[in-house]
Symmetry: C2
Subunit: 144 residues, 2 copies
Amino acid sequence: MFSKTCEYAIRAMIFIAQKTKEGDIRIGIKDIASGIDSPEYFIAKILQELSRKGLVQSVKGPNGGFYLDHSSLQQSLADVVRAVDGDKIFEGCGLGLKQCSEKCPCPIHHDFKRIRKDLYRTLEKSKLGNFTEELDKQLLFLRR
Amino acid sequence: MFSKTCEYAIRAMIFIAQKTKEGDIRIGIKDIASGIDSPEYFIAKILQELSRKGLVQSVKGPNGGFYLDHSSLQQSLADVVRAVDGDKIFEGCGLGLKQCSEKCPCPIHHDFKRIRKDLYRTLEKSKLGNFTEELDKQLLFLRR
DNA sequence: TTAATAAAAGACAAAAATATCTTTTATTAT
DNA sequence: ATAATAAAAGATATTTTTGTCTTTTATTAA
């Protein structure tokens, strides 16, 4: 469904949200990598990119690391997906046709419209900060 | 959503269904490639594999080519997807967690269960032979 | 039986995705 | 100011996916 990059990105962002909450705590790349069970250097690259796009905040140096400010905590998983994989997953044709459209539909066009819409609305409704409590209670998991 | 391989596979199978219908007509790889606008050698490889798995029939030599027998025409898009991409798209965790489950759910586990189910049932209901008429009438398209 | 045809099989090539390592820059604590 | 820290940036490596070409095998028609 999503690329590896995107899977790691979502897990990392939710993890950072959980660990840093509202405060000005920062979490380092090693803790993130082990916390979501991802390759350290790889997730570093991904967060670098998300940081450049302003989806996550970071500071260098001692006590530095990543965190989410108040507005970033309100971002949705759809925002993360879009930043990483673009919106082809929300818009592209299920059979890879460039010119697939209402007027020129592929055989699964109408079904996919419904499924995509559900996917999109679901991700749009899920804010990064929404999972903290359940993660803390171990009702949800980000690794294994 | 699907791999390129899978996209081509679905398009090719539906195309073969349309062109060969019930009769014992066969359609060659070049016609398939141009009919669905895919790389010729690549779709050849894909159909080779599907042929090995019995999802499509073929004969070599003059007047040879690919076709779908009566039972193959009843196969669903889900069967094609499973043969090509496996069933990770129907079953795997949306965030790539190996041990994601009801007891150990990832943050999007429950939403994804619903979306996946819709996807699966939709593909399961769509039989290869179902699109022929609308393709003939140019209400559906397999290229561009 | 032979030549032509078309898929099967196998080898190879290019591109993209995934993953790792090294150097640089900014920040902080001493 | 200086040393230590941690992310940013850049370079490189590996694997997977996608795409192409060549040779072999089966089938048919002449």
